[in-house]
Amino acid sequence: MQHTISVWVRNEFGVLSRVVGMFSGRGYNIDSLSVAPTLDEEVSHMTLVTHGDDDTIEQITKQLHKLIDVITVKDHRDGEFVGRELALLTVEPPPEARAEVFRIAEIFRGKIVDVGQKSLTIEVTGKQDKIDAMTRLLEPLGLQSRVRTGPLAVARGSAR
């Protein structure tokens, strides 16, 4: 099962490689990862999506805790957190489908952030499945590329 984990780390040199190295060294998968400083500049927050059975996730959480630069680890259970992702989708629709692309962007509350001769780039945020759904709709209309951040997560009703 997929799990979203928040990890707060000391903003030290090499800390990302410690976290990533723990995963690769022990054969755990990282489905997505995003990192940036928090309000406290000495602390960074990582949102990490991984998958595995309960025992695996328990080990992952403990192993993360064990890293000296890790401050706290929170394994978000389903529903208890808000997860949002940003994606940029570039489409080259045939002329007759351009309007359809605009319409889809609107339905998904996307924003056209770049317009070229032939291509359009749409910015969209939301849950993972929203981005997946939008991707599916744009595919037959000339979707050229998609970059996404992977989710950011924050626990509901908590400061952290």
Binding site: R10, F13, G14, S17, R18, G21, G25, D55, E58, Q59, K62, Q63, H65, K66, I68, D69, V70, I71, T72
Partner: protein
């Protein structure tokens, strides 16, 4: 004169109570070596960086204090890696200092540049690159703190050459500020009481302990617990010495080359109390058939060790010593007579298994010397009170089976990583830690050749270590697997082309002795111990002897091979 990074380095070591480091110099650590000279700091020159780190490791295991090693950049650090990984696998407290190219050169593929922090990240508990001389003292303080607290382990501090020569005031921090690193020492009373009430209802209980009991200095408590409960007890390779190997409640070691009774006891017990042990695959054999009938209690200071591979019913996170003290406290108020009585049939069963298949060998006076016989003789000669270091292979397992270590910190052997070549350099370190006490290195002929150069260090330091070479002219353990599992196809294991070890010892300036007949063994041992300096005893033993019991990899531990097939 203001101090520089290199002075700070020495003063930090003094603050930490370090009076001896093991190392090897080079370009990036010239300032540090200059400070060693200027401050008259005691340094033991290893002849290879792997040796230096194993020496620091042997020092740590034999003394219970952190070992310290110093190596230069690039190839020196890569040489040190085997030593660091060995210490990491066995949770040995150690601080390794490495040299690095000057800060401005980092990342430029400079001469002898290597990413020391990156290379050692997965084999250290933590590591540092010192980017500012003002950080040096706080980092060293943190390094020793992390290496020695919680589950111990090696920490690397990488010092760029220019940093070691930058001026800076020396101010050693009194405290470490690591709010998020808080190892838990205190075992939970509730869990401990629950564990004891489960244990005291058992009919076939078994205590199994490992290196955690040694590392936490818990052997007095362990012995008290074993004797109060009168509970049959087995131990891992890392636990040797936690209680005397020949204690009446000891079943000997368990696992791949554990005793018949210990492995069957593990298989049949109804409550298993695991103390500072981590259910390593060499202990469990086939995981899903490991100790199938038992409820399991697990004491460990590292939460990741708990339920990593084996399901545990009652986990207790905490320092072994602290937890065992609490166990003993709770037991003060308990009447154990029923518990003791109930174990009667279980103990008879254990006796019976021991009668069927004891750890034993037969030595005929006219046949080649058996390796077990040599180790037995060493045990008798020293009453089990020597510090014993080993290499890796058959001789190591025989040493575990026949040298009944009487006390903790007397068994120095690479368990987790199984590093050939560990024996001699770790003996150098152990002898430095315990001057005046007997130190024996039980070596393999394959292993010894990997670090033989450290005999020079032993000669230079005039360390009276006694190397007992179990010379079977084979990479014996590999040969054993090839005989049993690969239909006797011996591939690349023949060591019959080898140096004359007696002459080799002499060439190094040590005393070389040899025994090739049974009746020579005693006198060789006697001469070795009578000699005031380092000695290499070349025991020309049987080439064909195999080590049993043996649980083939992947088999359940009850399915032991007990002797060579006919």
């Amino acid at each position: 004169m203001t101090s520089t990074g290199s002075d700070i380095f020495i003063r930090c070591l003094r603050e930490e109570g370090v009076d001896l480091i093991f190392g090897h110099p080079g370009g990036a650590v010239l300032f540090l070596y200059d400070a060693i000279h200027r401050h008259g700091f005691r340094h033991v020159l290893a002849r290879h960086e792997q040796g230096a780190v194993h020496m620091a490791d042997g020092y740590a295991r034999a003394s219970g204090r952190p070992g310290v090693a110093l190596v230069t950049s690039g190839p020196a650090l890569t040489n040190a890696i085997t030593g660091i990984a060995t210490a990491y696998s066995d949770s040995i407290p150690m601080v390794v200092f490495s040299g690095q190219v000057p800060l401005p050169a980092i990342g430029s593929d400079a001469f002898q540049e290597a990413d020391n922090v990156g290379l050692t990240r997965p084999i250290t508990k933590h590591n540092y690159l010192v980017k500012d001389v003002a950080d040096l003292a706080p980092i060293v303080k943190e390094a020793f703190y992390i290496a020695t607290t919680g589950r111990p382990g090696p920490v690397l501090v990488d010092i760029p050459k220019d940093v070691s020569n930058m001026p800076c005031e020396f101010d050693y921090p009194r405290e470490v500020h690591l709010d998020h690193y808080q190892p838990r020492y205190e075992g939970h009373w509730g869990q401990i009481k629950k564990a004891l009430s489960m244990l005291l209802r058992a009919e076939r209980p078994l205590l199994y302990f490992g290196g955690g009991a040694i590392l936490s200095g818990a052997s007095a408590e362990l012995r008290a617990l074993v004797e109060t409960l009168r509970i049959p007890t087995t131990y891992t390779l890392m636990g040797i010495g936690g209680i005397p190997g020949d204690h009446e409640l000891s079943l000997g070691m368990l696992g791949m080359h554990g005793s018949y009774r210990a492995n069957l006891a593990t298989d049949e017990c109804d409550v298993l109390l695991a103390v500072g042990a981590r259910f390593d695959d060499r202990v469990t054999g086939k995981l899903d058939e490991f100790s199938p009938h038992s409820k399991k209690i697990h004491i460990d200071i590292d939460p990741t060790s708990i339920r990593k591979t084996v399901h545990v019913d009652i986990p207790i996170v905490g320092d072994v010593r602290n937890c065992l003290q609490k166990f003993l406290k709770v037991l003060e108020e308990k009447d154990l007579s029923r518990f003791h009585e109930r174990m009667g049939p279980w103990k008879q069963q254990l006796e019976e298994w021991n009668r069927q298949e004891p750890i034993a060998y037969q030595q005929h006076p006219d046949e080649p010397i058996k390796p077990q016989f040599v180790i037995d003789k060493l045990f008798q000669a020293t009453h089990g009170d020597a510090v014993v270091t080993t290499d890796v292979g058959q001789h190591q397992m025989w040493a575990a089976q026949y040298y009944h270590c009487q006390s903790p910190n007397n068994w120095v052997s690479s368990g987790g990583l199984g590093t050939m070549g560990f024996g001699l350099p770790s003996a150098v370190g152990a002898q430095c830690a315990r001057p005046g006490e007997p130190v024996i290195c039980i070596a393999g002929d394959g292993s010894l050749m990997m670090t033989i150069q450290e005999l020079t260090t032993a000669v230079e330091e005039n360390l009276p270590i006694k190397v007992a070479l179990i010379n079977n002219q084979y990479l014996g353990m590999v040969r054993q697997w090839q005989e049993i599992i690969y239909d006797d196809r011996k591939s690349a294991v023949d060591l019959s082309v080898a140096p004359d070890f007696v002459k080799l010892a002499e060439a190094f300036g040590a005393l070389g002795l040899q025994a090739s007949r049974v009746d020579e063994v005693d006198s060789v041992i006697e001469k070795a111990f009578a000699h005031p300096g380092p000695v290499l005893m070349d025991f020309r033993v049987s080439k064909t002897e195999n080590c049993y019991p043996m649980v083939p990899a992947g088999s359940p531990s009850r399915k032991m091979l007990l002797r060579d097939p006919d």
